[in-house]
C-alpha cells in the first residue's frame, strides 16, 4: 500500500544458529539418563510405564520436527499428517495383512518419508509463514482424507481401527506394557543416535548452512532444493515411525486423533524443549503430555487457562526452552568444579 521503494531488509534468520555440538548431551549425562530410563519401569505402575512410552513416542515426533526446524530452518504445522500416515500404515498392515508389528514400523517410516519428500518438492517455493500455512493445510486435510468413503474398507472410516497389543516375544516374563516400553526405548535410542549422527554428517552441516543463510549455502555448493526436501522427508519418516509406535501403544487409530491440535502440541513441545536441541525434544514431549493433565487437576473448568498460564510462565522464565536450563546447569557445575 505504500508507494515507498521496495522493502530492503537485513533479516536475521528466523531460527537462531545452534552449533552442532550444542545440539546434544555429553557422554556421562547421556549414560546416566539411559540408566534411569532402563531401570525406572521396574519400580512403577503399568499406567506410568504407558505414559513413559508415550513420552518417548511423542519425543520422537518432536525430535523429527526439531530436525526440520532446528536443523534446516523450515517450519511445519503439518507433522500430525505424517504421524497419522505412519499410524494408519502400521495399523492397516497389522490388522488387514497380519504383519508382525515390528516389521510394520520401517514400512510406516518409508511411506511417510516418501510423502514428506514429495510434499517438500512444491513446498520448496514457500518459506516462513507461507510454508506454515501449506503444512497447516496438510494437517487439516488429513483427518478428512482418512474419512473418505472409498478408503473405508482399509481405514475403518470415522470409527477407525482397533490394533492388538503385542505380547513380549520368546516367552519373556514381562507384561505387555513393559515390553512395549523397552521396544519403544530401543527404537528411540536408535533413531536418536542416528539423528545426532545425521546432524554431524555432511547432510547435517548442509541443513544448518541452509538454516543460517540459504544464499551463502548455495554459494558454497550446497544443493539447497535437494537438502530441503531431504530434511522434509527425514522428518516425516521419523514422525511416521513415531505414529506407528503410537498406534501400537494406544491400540487404536481414528481420524480425529490426528487433528491440527496434535501438530500444535508437537510444535509447543519443540519450543518448550528448545528449538534445535535434540535432547530437549523429550522434555518438550513430557510437557505436552503431563501439563494438560496437571492443568485439568488444578481446575476442570479453566484447564485451558491454567495450561496457557503455565505455558506463559515457562516461556517467560526460559524463552529458549529446556536448552537454556541445561546451559545454566552446565555453567553452575563448571563453577562448582573450580
Amino acid at each position: 500500500m505504500s508507494a515507498a521503494a521496495e522493502d530492503v531488509v537485513t533479516e536475521a534468520p528466523a531460527v537462531e544458529a545452534v552449533p552442532k555440538r550444542a545440539m546434544t548431551l555429553g557422554t556421562t549425562t547421556s549414560l546416566v539418563i539411559l540408566a534411569a530410563l532402563l531401570v525406572t519401569p521396574l519400580f512403577v505402575k503399568n499406567f506410568i510405564i504407558f505414559q513413559m512410552t508415550m513420552v518417548l513416542i511423542y519425543g520422537l515426533a518432536v525430535l523429527a520436527l526439531n530436525i526440520l526446524t532446528g536443523g534446516s530452518g523450515q517450519f511445519s504445522l503439518g507433522q500430525s499428517a505424517f504421524y497419522a500416515l505412519g499410524a494408519y500404515t502400521s495399523a492397516i498392515l497389522m490388522e488387514h495383512v497380519n504383519m508382525n508389528y515390528a516389521l510394520t514400523l520401517p514400512i510406516a517410516g518409508l511411506v511417510s518419508f516418501a510423502a514428506g519428500y514429495l510434499f517438500g518438492k512444491p513446498a520448496l517455493r514457500l518459506s516462513g509463514i507461507y510454508l506454515a500455512l501449506a503444512t497447516f493445510a496438510l494437517a487439516t486435510a488429513m483427518p478428512q482424507l482418512l474419512k473418505l468413503h472409498f478408503l473405508e474398507h482399509w481405514t475403518g472410516g470415522v470409527q477407525g481401527l482397533v490394533v492388538t497389543k503385542p505380547d513380549a516375544p520368546f516367552g519373556l516374563p514381562i507384561g505387555q506394557d513393559m515390553w512395549l516400553y523397552y521396544f519403544t526405548l530401543a527404537i528411540t535410542l536408535a533413531i536418536y543416535v542416528g539423528s545426532v549422527n545425521l546432524l554431524r554428517s555432511r547432510s547435517g552441516r548442509a541443513f544448518m548452512a541452509i538454516r543460517d543463510n540459504e544464499i551463502a549455502a548455495s554459494a558454497m555448493g550446497v544443493d539447497v532444493a535437494q537438502y530441503k526436501t531431504l530434511a522434509f522427508g527425514v522428518s516425516a519418516g521419523i514422525t511416521g515411525i513415531a505414529g506407528g509406535l503410537g498406534a501400537i501403544a494406544v491400540q487404536f487409530v481414528a481420524p480425529d486423533g490426528y487433528t491440527i491440535t496434535l501438530a500444535i502440541s508437537l510444535f509447543l513441545g519443540m519450543v518448550v524443549g528448545g528449538v534445535g536441541w535434540l535432547p530437549g525434544s523429550f522434555i518438550g514431549a513430557a510437557f505436552i503430555i503431563f501439563v494438560p493433565n496437571i492443568a485439568e487437576s488444578i481446575s476442570k473448568g479453566l484447564s485451558g487457562a491454567v495450561f496457557g498460564v503455565l505455558l506463559f510462565i515457562v516461556i517467560f522464565l526460559v524463552p529458549h526452552g529446556a536448552r537454556q536450563v541445561a546451559i545454566i546447569a552446565q555453567q553452575m557445575i563448571g563453577k562448582l568444579r573450580k
Binding site: D7, V9, V15, P122, Y130, A137, F267, G304
Partner: protein, 292 residues
C-alpha cells in the same frame, strides 16, 4: 448460469466474514511482524463483552463503541503485559505465546459465558437485500462496513503522521528509532487497533455464525488463508483475498463432485497453496528483497 451467479453471490457474502478477519490479521502483522493465532479468540471475547453490555441494557451502538474502546485498551494491555517481555525472545517462542493466549481466552470465555449458542442482534436487519435470496441486508451491511474499514485504514496509514510512524516502525525498527519514533509504543498501538478491528469483525460475524466461545475457530483459519492469499503486507489484498476464498470455497463445494462440507476447507487451502507456489508473496504483497 443462475446457479453460478447464486453461488458466487453466496461466496461473496461469506467472503465478507473472512475479509473482516483477514483485515485484522494483516493489521497486527503490519505492526508486529507475526501472525497472531489468538486474534480470533480476542475478537470472540470482545463480541461477548458487547453482548454482555447489551444484556445489561446498554443500547446497541453504545455497546458497540464501548466494546471498541475496551478492546483497544485490552489489546494494548495484553501487549504491555505479555508480549513486550517476549520482544527479545525467538520468533517461535512468541508463536507459543500466542497459542497460550488462545487457550486462556477460550477457556475464560467458556467459563464466564458457557458454551451454549447465543443469538446476536444485527443493526442492518436480515431481510433479503435488493430482492436476492442469497444476500441479506446484514451481509450487505457487513460488506459495506468492511470496505469502510479498509478505506479508513488506508487513510490512516497513508495520510496521518502516526500511521506513517507505525509503518516506519514495522518496516525498519532501527531507523525508525533513530528518527525519534517510539517503536515500542507503535507495536502496542498496533495491538490495540488490531484488537478493535477484530472486535468489529466479531460483532459483524456473530449474527451469522452465532455467539459461542468456539465461533472463531473456522473463521480464523479462513481469515489467515485470505490474508496470506492477498499478501500479508496489503490490507486491500486481505479484503480481496477474503472474498476470493469465500467464492472459491463455495464453488468447490458446488461443482467438484464428492466435495461435501468437510472437504471444502482442504480444497480451498489447496487452491491457495497452488496460487502461492506461483506467487509466493501473495496476490497483492510485495516481494521482500533481502540484503545479504
Amino acid at each position: 448460469m443462475e446457479l453460478l451467479t447464486n453461488q458466487v453471490l453466496a461466496g461473496i457474502s461469506t467472503g465478507a466474514i473472512y475479509a473482516c478477519m483477514a483485515l485484522a490479521v494483516v493489521m497486527i502483522y503490519q505492526a508486529i511482524d507475526h501472525l497472531n493465532f489468538a486474534q480470533g479468540e480476542m475478537a470472540m471475547f470482545s463480541t461477548f463483552i458487547s453482548w454482555q453490555l447489551m444484556q445489561w441494557g446498554v443500547p446497541y451502538w453504545w455497546a458497540f463503541l464501548l466494546t471498541l474502546a475496551i478492546s483497544f485498551a485490552g489489546g494494548i494491555l495484553i501487549e504491555r503485559l505479555l508480549f513486550k517481555p517476549l520482544a527479545k525472545a525467538p520468533v517461535l517462542t512468541n508463536v507459543a505465546g500466542f497459542i497460550a493466549l488462545f487457550a486462556i481466552v477460550n477457556s475464560v470465555a467458556g467459563l464466564t459465558w458457557d458454551f451454549t449458542i447465543k443469538q446476536y442482534p444485527t443493526p442492518f436487519g436480515s431481510s433479503p437485500f435488493l430482492g436476492s435470496q442469497l444476500i441479506s441486508t446484514h451481509q450487505a451491511g457487513m460488506i459495506g462496513v468492511t470496505l469502510l474499514m479498509l478505506a479508513g485504514l488506508y487513510f490512516f496509514f497513508q495520510f496521518t503522521r502516526i500511521g506513517l510512524a507505525m509503518r516506519a516502525a514495522a518496516a525498519l525498527p532501527e531507523s525508525a528509532r533513530l528518527v525519534g519514533i517510539n517503536t515500542s509504543w507503535m507495536i502496542a498501538l498496533g495491538w490495540g487497533m488490531a484488537s478493535a478491528i477484530g472486535a468489529i469483525a466479531g460483532i459483524l460475524i456473530a449474527p451469522v455464525v452465532f455467539l459461542e466461545p468456539n465461533m472463531m475457530g473456522g473463521v480464523l483459519i479462513y481469515g489467515f488463508a485470505a490474508a496470506v492469499l492477498g499478501g500479508l503486507t496489503s490490507p486491500l489484498g486481505a479484503v480481496v483475498g477474503g472474498f476470493l476464498v469465500g467464492v472459491v470455497e463455495n464453488l468447490a463445494g458446488t461443482y467438484i463432485p464428492g466435495v461435501g462440507n468437510e472437504l471444502k476447507l482442504p480444497i480451498a487451502l489447496a487452491l491457495i497453496i497452488t496460487v502461492l507456489v506461483f506467487k509466493p508473496a501473495g496476490l497483492f504483497g510485495r516481494a521482500i528483497v533481502k540484503r545479504v
